[in-house]
């Protein structure tokens, strides 16, 4: 019995009565008509208070992380920063629902998810600082490198999950994408492969309404991005992406389903990018202040704060604890990023291949000579 034995065809000509292979019923795959919400609904009371407090704490710390990273760009300490301000619920939930052996496949905006997974900010931000493409150990952290070519990380998640399944290991891969990324061919191919292979993958699309300047209406005519799942034969879930407990439960269900052999799920989280695309972007060219303000009213921390206080799960003391932890992280980031990173130009040749080619050895010698000449001039 092999893992892929479920793939078979009837061998009966299609024109014969009853010949068609059993097809998937689309109805159970369809997303809810309105996004799943927990905050401000009776469902909230069923949630573990400890988890709710943990989500709150992580949201507060995550927001501060975003603010500090943005500040670091202004001080020239980061080359660029695509903030996930406003999207913190997606970022922290994605990290929190995964077990230690599971893998996260982040896109370029998802450094907060990487940090939430336990990677040090200094290591998570090397790409955006400009000192190294990937500063953390993907194997040790089960976190793939931040992926800039949009959508291309999605098939990697499928392959990794497929490999784990072939080995009989209960590992789940979670791939993070943006709404714009869903238009890429790799997104389509990844979902199709995942469904056909029944790979234990969760695709989390953070629909923040824009791909740089292009609004969703110019990106897709689908009823929702979650509906795209149905075409591949996997369930689609639509969730309020600023409702941390809702995200946590929808993603947990998807992860458990994948781990149990139920196959992939596509989750669309409705959220909003409060900051511009990056510090280099001018968002006033494509969106209005009232639109941003409306989303500020639907802020993930605000929603959480309000709901938890109503249930007496949060008081000023706990809020202050979270704020203190956030400040400590920010202070640590300021200190760590203040020092210039150590750079080793000769390392440029070290990891192109397992062994440098003869040509790379010659080029390394050339750079070495250039460095020596530079040093001479400086003396």
């Amino acid at each position: 019995m092999t893992v892929l034995d479920h793939r078979h065809h009837t061998g009966v000509p299609g024109w014969m009565p009853g010949a068609t292979a059993p097809r998937t019923d689309p109805a159970p795959l369809l997303p809810d008509v309105s996004p799943v919400r927990v905050l401000g609904t009776p469902a909230l009371e069923k949630h573990d208070p400890a988890l709710l407090r943990e989500l709150y704490r992580r949201l507060v710390v995550g927001r501060r992380y975003n603010q500090q990273a943005t500040t670091l760009t202004k001080q020239g300490r980061l080359a660029v920063y695509p903030a996930s301000t406003g999207q913190e619920a997606c970022q922290i939930a994605a990290a929190l629902v995964l077990g230690e052996r599971d893998w996260l496949f982040p896109s370029y905006r998802d450094t907060l998810a990487v940090v939430s997974r336990g990677v040090d900010p200094l290591e998570a931000l090397t790409l955006l600082r400009g000192n190294a493409h990937t500063g953390y150990d993907p194997r040790a952290s089960r976190t793939a490198p931040l992926c800039t070519p949009l959508g291309t990380q999605a098939p990697h998640a499928v392959g990794l999950a497929h490999a784990a399944r072939l080995r009989g290991e209960p590992v789940v891969a979670l791939a993070m994408l943006g709404d714009g990324g869903t238009s890429e061919g790799d997104f389509h191919e990844a979902l199709n492969f995942a469904a056909v292979l029944r790979a234990p993958v969760v695709f989390l699309v953070q629909n923040n309404g824009y791909a740089i300047s292009v609004p969703l209406s110019a990106q897709s005519a689908a009823p929702s991005l979650a509906h795209k799942a149905v075409g591949y034969g996997m369930p689609g879930r639509l969730v309020d992406g600023n409702d941390a407990p809702a995200l946590h439960s929808v993603l947990t269900e998807a992860v458990e389903r994948a781990r149990a052999g139920g196959g992939p799920t596509l989750v669309e989280a409705l959220t909003y990018r409060i900051e511009a695309h990056t510090n280099a972007d001018d968002a006033t060219r494509y969106r209005t202040e009232p639109e941003v303000d409306a989303w500020r009213e639907h802020d993930p921390i605000l929603l959480m704060d309000r709901a938890l206080r109503e249930l007496h799960l949060l008081d000023d003391g706990l809020a202050q604890d979270a704020a203190d932890e956030a400040e400590a992280l920010a202070a640590r980031m300021r200190a760590e990023f203040h020092a210039d990173p150590e750079l080793d130009p000769m390392a440029l040749f070290t990891h192109v291949y397992a062994e440098p080619t003869p040509q790379l050895r010659e080029q390394a010698a050339q750079l070495s000579a250039e460095l020596a000449a530079e040093a001479e001039v400086q003396h």
């Binding site: 993907p138 098939p155 392959g159 061919g185 389509h188 291949y353």
Partner: protein
């Protein structure tokens, strides 16, 4: 269609010299490649084959014939028809410790996977400071000469050779097809393995028990004193034929088979060209910006004072691959090669 027959290498010239002949058998290049895949699957449980039609059909060229039957669909997987998805999935598999061998159905149909190849396969080791090497072999049947209609005959090697992080290997003999594919699969670096499809059916003797050839070494297929033809893959038999024909003109041509384009064997190429003093680079891909341009430049840089004439290139024209009824005008043949040899300033 071009011949796949070629003289067996002269024993003293290296390369296949170390082979013992006990288990030697006669096989086509297609069969040798199939054996290489089968033996790799047998010996290493982390090897997985995936691609379009590689299962029951055995691939459109039958290179994966019988593999799913022997190893099961988990090891030799018929994927959906999507090349970026195939290679992207292979990347994830490699990240988890497997050793995927991907089959692209034809040269031009590998293009949908180029983003995965260029942005991830070629760079992953580098962008993770060596923490995520991707031991992936991407097999691509390439080149013309089989009467294929549009999009089935591209000599696409320059796209790969100009991408740092990839190894590019292309066998020109049956024995190399086996040995170099084994070595490519065993390599911890990603390898683009270019299979000259017009040589698939030509038979020759090879010995699967012979030591596996390392990648990165060129081999002299024929000694000569007048000039050396530097070539690889599909153009190797043409060059050997040209060298035969050149004897009638009084030229004693050497033929150097590169076998691996990246890493490039500067050492052997330089040594051979310096000792002979005249060189022609031959490949069927377009000349402008082609691999031959790089080779000619390298040879000139390293051998200038040993050269009696400029290094010439004999290549396909700078045109999209022609319809099959016209392809023989495009592909370098014996005459075009000998014309170039004639232009090597013999009067000096």
């Amino acid at each position: 269609m071009s011949t796949a027959s070629h003289p067996s290498p002269t024993p003293t010239l290296g390369g296949a010299a170390a082979r013992h002949t006990s288990a030697a058998r006669t096989a086509s290049m297609a069969q040798a490649l199939n054996s290489a895949l089968r033996d790799s699957l047998r010996e290493d449980p982390t090897v997985h084959v995936l691609g379009e039609d590689v299962g029951a059909l055995g691939g459109v060229f039958r290179i994966t014939d019988g593999l799913t039957a022997e190893f099961g669909a988990d090891r030799c997987l018929d994927t959906p028809l999507a090349e970026a998805g195939i290679l992207g999935t292979a990347i994830g598999m490699a990240m988890y410790g497997l050793r995927p061998v991907v089959e692209m159905q034809f040269d031009a149909f590998a293009y949908p996977a180029l983003e995965q190849l260029f942005s991830h396969v070629a760079k992953m080791r580098n962008r993770t400071a060596g923490r995520l090497p991707l031991p992936i072999t991407v097999r691509i049947p390439y080149g013309g000469g089989i009467g294929g209609v549009e999009h089935h005959s591209d000599a696409s090697e320059a796209y790969y050779t100009s991408t740092p992080g990839l190894h590019v290997v292309t066998p020109g003999t049956v024995a190399d097809a086996y040995g170099l594919l084994r070595a490519s699969i065993a390599s911890d670096d990603p390898v683009v393995f270019l299979e000259p499809k017009r040589l698939y059916w030509g038979k020759a003797e090879f010995d699967p028990a012979a030591p596996v050839e390392p990648i990165g070494r060129a081999v002299l297929r024929r000694t000569g004193t007048s000039a050396v033809l530097i070539t690889y893959g599909p153009s190797l038999p043409v060059c050997l034929e040209a060298a035969e024909a050149a004897q009638a003109e009084g030229w004693d041509l050497a033929v150097l088979d590169l076998r691996t384009l990246v890493p490039f064997d500067d050492e052997t190429v330089t040594r051979v060209v310096r000792s002979i003093g005249r060189a022609v680079v031959v490949h069927e891909a377009s000349g402008f910006g082609g691999t031959g341009a790089e080779i000619a430049a390298r040879v000139t840089e390293r051998c200038f004072h040993h050269l009696a004439a400029p290094v010439l290139r004999v290549t396909g024209f700078d045109i999209p691959y022609p319809p099959p009824m016209l392809e023989h005008h495009h592909l370098p043949g014996v005459d075009r090669i000998l014309d170039a040899v004639a232009r090597l300033q013999w009067e000096d």
